[in-house]
């Protein structure tokens, strides 16, 4: 089974391990991520007002290409932000005929919102099944205490994008449990990391990301997983200051959920991209006998 796959800019550059581990895991689980040809940036932020149709042209182009590429049913992505932008744009195409026509005439396409935009996590849960993932595990992550950090983009606005309950999601924890890890719940798992304020307000990012990490660690996390390259960057960037400012806080590795998936499915550390993370997860995994 081949699924059309949109990587987005970051997965080809600063988040390579996110992609290599996901692609290889797919093969083990019996499907293939087929990268779209000649894709463009999705725009990295869905416009929060309706009076910004221009910003929808880039993601609309991606969707139109994706429809032509595969069986015309779905497109998947790994990055939470790409997922949010594509899914919300698709919603506009499904629901708003007038805007759809304006955008189509501008980008010279005839896309009508036929695709389902699904996150890779949804493919694992709904198409493959976490029970099948569990059966494929050759290196269980026994004893590793993992906090699943969702952030905003997989969950809000809930009526359009939520891949799970938007106040209390468990999809990543369920996957971690299937991999043999101990999933740790923590109150800040759906809060924002500070997002694009990394451009001009690193103090705010450090506070918000610090709140997320200290909440995870307070609840016993030894490692945090995410699905968003911007969350990953903001958390890593804020870790030093959190270590200084929050008493008792101990830095933890912050990696992509697919990196743990890959390891559990038997991938090498290189394939899972573990050497690229600023806080190395390998000593912890070794200590746990993974």
């Amino acid at each position: 089974m081949k699924i059309p796959y949109y990587p987005g800019c970051t997965l080809n550059t600063v988040a390579k391990g996110f992609e290599t581990s996901a692609k290889e895991s797919s093969k083990t689980l019996g499907f293939e991520l087929e990268e779209l040809k000649g894709w463009n940036c999705c725009g990295a932020t869905f416009p929060l007002t309706p009076d910004n149709t221009m910003a929808l042209t880039a993601p609309a182009k991606v969707l139109a290409h994706a429809k032509a590429a595969g069986d015309g049913n779905k497109v998947t992505t790994l990055c939470s932000v790409c997922y949010n932008v594509l899914k919300r744009t698709n919603h506009v195409f499904k629901e708003d005929k007038a805007r759809r026509e304006v955008i189509n005439s501008f980008i010279e396409e005839s896309y009508e919102g036929e695709l389902d935009v699904v996150h890779y996590l949804e493919v694992l849960r709904d198409t493959i099944g976490f029970d099948k993932v569990k059966e494929a595990v050759t290196r269980p992550l026994a004893g590793v205490k993992v906090a699943a950090y969702y952030g905003c983009m997989l969950l809000r606005p809930h009526e359009e994008v939520a891949i799970d309950d938007h106040e209390s999601p468990t999809i990543i924890e369920d996957l971690m449990t299937a991999l043999g890890a101990d999933a740790v719940d923590f109150p800040q798992k759906i809060e924002c990391c500070g997002a694009h304020l990394s451009m001009d307000r690193t103090d705010v990012v450090e506070k918000l990301s610090g709140n997320v990490m200290s909440s995870a660690v307070e609840n016993g996390a030894e490692l945090i997983v995410t699905s968003c390259p911007l969350c990953q960057y903001n958390l890593e960037k804020s870790q030093e200051r959190t270590t200084v400012e929050v008493s008792g806080y101990k830095a933890v590795p912050i990696i992509y959920f697919t990196q743990l998936l890959g390891l559990a499915l038997g991938q090498t550390d290189e394939m899972a991209g573990l050497k690229d993370n600023e806080w190395d997860a390998r000593p912890l995994l070794k200590e746990k006998g993974v």
């Binding site: 600063v14 988040a15 929060l48 007002t49 009076d51 809000r156 809930h158 990394s198 451009m199 001009d200």
Partner: protein
């Protein structure tokens, strides 16, 4: 603080403009404060989301524009998610930003961005930062 009610301000052309751009009607809000309670950056705002909306209900768009709130909003949509009236403070703040940027008044100077940030940050941080802060 006392706010003087003025029909002229409440129904001003700029208020109408903001409503059209943001797609939101501030008058739907009944000031429960849920948005501000859930907003992760309220602490940093001159006026928190429900205060911005209160000022707009009185037509005080200049005060809402002068506050730093629109520039520290992270667009996380917790406000909308928790609003019992279905109001999106996020859309209102984006509307205010849009009105400012469309006049060519940038919030950030591209030349001032730290090289380290441009080199290391994921592209999505830069692209979305540009969309929020630069016209």
């Amino acid at each position: 603080m006392k706010l003087k009610l003025s029909g002229r301000e409440i129904n001003s052309a700029s208020m109408e403009h903001l409503e059209r751009v943001s797609g939101e009607d501030a008058k739907k809000c009944y000031q429960c404060g849920n948005c501000s309670a859930g907003c992760p950056v309220s602490y940093e705002m001159d006026m928190n989301p429900s205060e911005i909306i209160r000022f707009l209900q009185f037509g005080k768009i200049d005060d809402a524009m002068a506050a730093n709130s629109m520039w520290v909003c992270v667009g996380c949509l917790q406000c909308y998610s928790r609003c019992p009236k279905g109001v999106s403070a996020a859309s209102i703040l984006e509307g205010l930003r849009q009105l400012t940027l469309r006049k060519g008044q940038d919030h950030d100077e591209v030349k001032d961005l730290p090289v380290e940030f441009i080199k290391k940050a994921p592209q999505q941080a830069i692209v979305s930062g540009f969309r929020k802060f630069v016209s």
